[in-house]
Amino acid sequence: ACSSSGGKQEEQKADGGGGNVANTPRMKIAFITHAAPGDTFWDLVRKGAEAAAAKDNVELQYSGDPEGANQANLVQTAIDARVDGIAVTLAKPDAVSANVKKAVAAGIPVTVLNGGIEQWKAAGAIAYFGQDERIAGQAAGEKLTQIGAKKAVCVIHEQGNVGLEARCQGLKDKFPTVENVYITGTDMPGSTTTMTSKLQQDKAVDYVVTLGAPFAIAAVKAVKDSGSSAKIGTFDTNKDLVGAIKEGTVEWAVDQQPYLQGYLAVDNLWLYKTNGNTIGGGKATLTGPAFIDKTNVAAVEKFAANGTR
Amino acid sequence: MTTTRAFADEAASSPTTPIVHLENVGKSYGNVHALRDVTLAVRQGEITCVLGDNGAGKSTLIKIVSGLHDYNSGTMSVNGQARHFSSPREALDSGIATVYQDLALAPLMSVWRNFFLGNEVTKGPFKVLDTATMKRIADEELTKMGISIPNLEQPVGMLSGGQRQCIAIARAIYFGAKVLVLDEPTAALGVNQSGVVLKYIVKARDAGLGVVFITHNPHHAYLVGNHFVVLKLGRVALDTHRADITLEQLTNEMAGGAELEALSHELRGIDAGAVVRPTGKAGPIESPLEKHD
């Protein structure tokens, strides 16, 4: 009587992949981000890293801390534990770079992902995978101009976060009539009401740009609640968001392929250790920005359902 | 330990068995042995006075009886059954009501709420508090004690020390069932209120309750007590019946005899009106300490 339609029983897909595992000696790689726990974007990054680790016979140690000093200290713990490689984000380069240099000096190869496109080289890392947040923001700005939007709000879900601020700044570079709104990322209903009130306050707003997939879903609700006719674009994707694009409630997403960032950062360390390769050949490897919208969403839909896009 | 003959006789032959009976009870707080080998019997229709110096262990003793602390050695029996109270609720359920020296009032709650705390009167199917009845009763009981508390909605924390004491006493007397324990109830009270409390104590006894009355005032004790227990440094120093002791002896016992002698001599020599004196009215001052407490 209690059984239901939907749910796990409908999930009939077999686990994709499996694949062969490298027979190289087991190595230990530390993966250190500036992410707070429970963030959907970083979940995808981590999945990519884990996939690469599984394939490369790597023991992955994932950790993260939003405070610069603490993240730096996590790098230090990796040095202490004598890992074979470190993949790190340099969102707060001033705080973390010094310890990255220490790691390099201690003979530990380092790859940088996500943040730090300007600083990775100076820090001595072997490669960089990510996108320039500001350029991604500018791409979104160009898109708004091109669509003919009049006024937009840029929704920042973590106050003072460098990457998020850079995206909004980039947006503003190319599309000056944009206002920032701060919401609390750990409070979804509260985020919705804040966006609702913003749309009620400024009826001229016709575009909402969020900086993370869950917030775009919340924005859909806010647009409905406020009776506004604003459209929604976002940075980053997840399963729900791909669905929303397909439905048309969200117009587009700026994709930087987080899975790829995590994957490459680990895989390159393995390559470097086993074969001395560097991806990008000493240049930054850009994983974005690319746009996902109704036209190309079908291509990523299947992967999103796996939780890897 | 001195147990007078008459008392020993009585203990053996008395028709009433003790409601509360402590035998060789000991209690320590960490490394402080506050009570050792204390034996005490509280009987129906009797007022047992516990006397003793500051820090002698009187409050500790009654806290054991009222379930606030457990004891470490010996046995306590209530109504003939050996008991270890795990909470004051159990003591209350056995009919033991207590007035604590530190009063047990919630300072931010109003007078009437404190009065009925733990014994609230409710009415109706939803068990709503019967505020009107409770206020009326509290007012009546306090008026009987002769104190005036203008506003029963006032938080207890704002009342004077004596007013608070009266609330605690009135409450215990009102809810007292079999045993009434009072820890220095008259200490903060005026002459008037003290008299009322003494009268209440006697009335409680007459109604068949057993009363334990702790006081530093031998006059108060002698005025109402049937039986006197003097504690000294955590041990029973004297346990006697009223008929076997005079007020002077009792006072001496309480204060440690010889020491008091010396002291009262010294005080006797003091000239109360010594320095400033209205013109032409000098005269000897009578101030015998042992006569007037």
Partner: protein
């Protein structure tokens, strides 16, 4: 025990009658109500959208989101304890409901019930541990705060493979549960011939008002309420007069669990899935609402209505800053100033009232 002795006190003329106004003003929640009024008037002046009836629904909903949990948190504070795990417990409840229904493919109402058991269990565990160890509730619930935060993330990832629970929108019972926990309706009304509306009211607001009334009644008009005041004001004294202190406190923590469940269900059914990282930091918002509404941090004093007013102040300020269209960079600074303002007004009102 009857007594014929009546020593009539000499008529005591020291107390001057306090006016009804003065007596009203000294209730714990009234000070904050004046604070709320000040904030309201302020934003009515500076933020034009505030004047429109349509925004009222949004503001009330924002207040209800905070206020719903502020109810048990205020009760708990009156009872002399804190619960730092209240924020993440909401998420735990929501996740449990969503994950259970999805993973076992059962009617969502089964998930709702399981979540209820888990949420109340968390509360009971907090209360039990507190009473068992005698540690301060700050420490105990801090421990559960971290543990729940970890479990929310860890269990969710194991079960759903991502950091949020699976969507249960298309499962049996979803729409009925949504109707109960997260529906909304539109009202239009006329006052003095002028039509107002349309005003969208979320059902959470209705529930909130109901729970505030109910909890106020319990606190002020029942035995349990009396005991809550007593255990918060002086636990030793309460114990001494026979109040079952432990039971009352554990009960209060379980009440927090119940409300966490309710809020969690709202979260779940308004979104169909729950993010595992949510709720962190909200415990303080609840405490703020209770304190702004007149609860003493040290226990023994406070009111539920006050907590509702506190939630309203906080909600109005949060959205008012947005409605006023102020530079978002300064958002927090405005929020802080408004909070200080509201509490200082509260204080001034109370002091004035006490003097009369």
């Amino acid at each position: 025990m009857a007594s014929t002795l009546v020593a009539p006190p000499a008529t005591d003329d020291r107390v001057s009658r306090r006016s009804l106004g003065a007596r009203l003003l000294s209730r714990p929640e009234i000070g904050s109500l004046v604070g709320a009024a000040v904030i309201l008037v302020f934003f009515l002046v500076v933020a034009p959208p505030f004047r429109e009836i349509t925004t009222t629904g949004t503001i009330l909903y924002q207040a209800a989101l905070i206020g719903m949990m502020a109810v048990p948190v205020a009760l708990l504070m009156v009872g002399g304890e804190f619960d730092l795990s209240a924020g993440v417990a909401v998420t735990t409840a929501g996740l449990t409901g969503g994950l259970f229904a999805y993973q076992f493919s059962v009617n969502v109402w089964v998930g709702v019930l399981v979540a209820l058991v888990v949420a109340i269990g968390v509360g009971a565990f907090n209360g039990w541990l507190l009473m068992r160890t005698g540690l301060p509730s700050f420490l105990v619930t801090l421990g559960t705060f971290f543990i729940l935060q970890g479990l929310n993330l860890g269990v969710t990832r194991i079960l759903s493979g991502t950091v949020s629970s699976n969507s249960i929108r298309d499962m049996d019972g979803f729409s009925s549960a949504q109707a109960v926990f997260a529906s909304e309706f539109v009202v239009k009304f006329r006052i003095l011939g002028i039509g107002f509306g349309p005003l969208t009211i979320k059902i959470l607001v209705i529930w909130w008002i109901l729970f505030v009334v109910l909890a106020s009644w319990v606190l002020l008009r029942t035995k349990i309420g009396n005991w809550i005041f007593a255990v918060g004001g002086d636990a030793a004294a309460a114990r001494a007069v026979g109040v079952p202190v432990k039971k009352v406190k554990i009960g209060l923590f379980m009440t927090v669990g119940f409300f966490a469940w309710f809020s969690g269900m709202h979260l779940l059914f308004s979104q169909s899935s729950v993010q595992s990282g949510e709720g962190v930091g909200k415990e303080f918002i609840y405490i703020i609402a209770a304190v702004v509404g007149g609860c003493l941090l040290t226990g023994g004093y406070g009111s539920i209505a006050g907590s509702a007013v506190g939630a309203l102040i906080f909600g109005m300020t949060q959205l008012g800053v947005v409605y006023a269209g102020w530079n978002a960079d300064w958002f927090r600074a405005f929020l802080g100033l408004m909070l200080l303002l509201a509490t200082i007004v509260n204080l001034v009102v109370k002091n004035r009232a006490d003097l009369r």
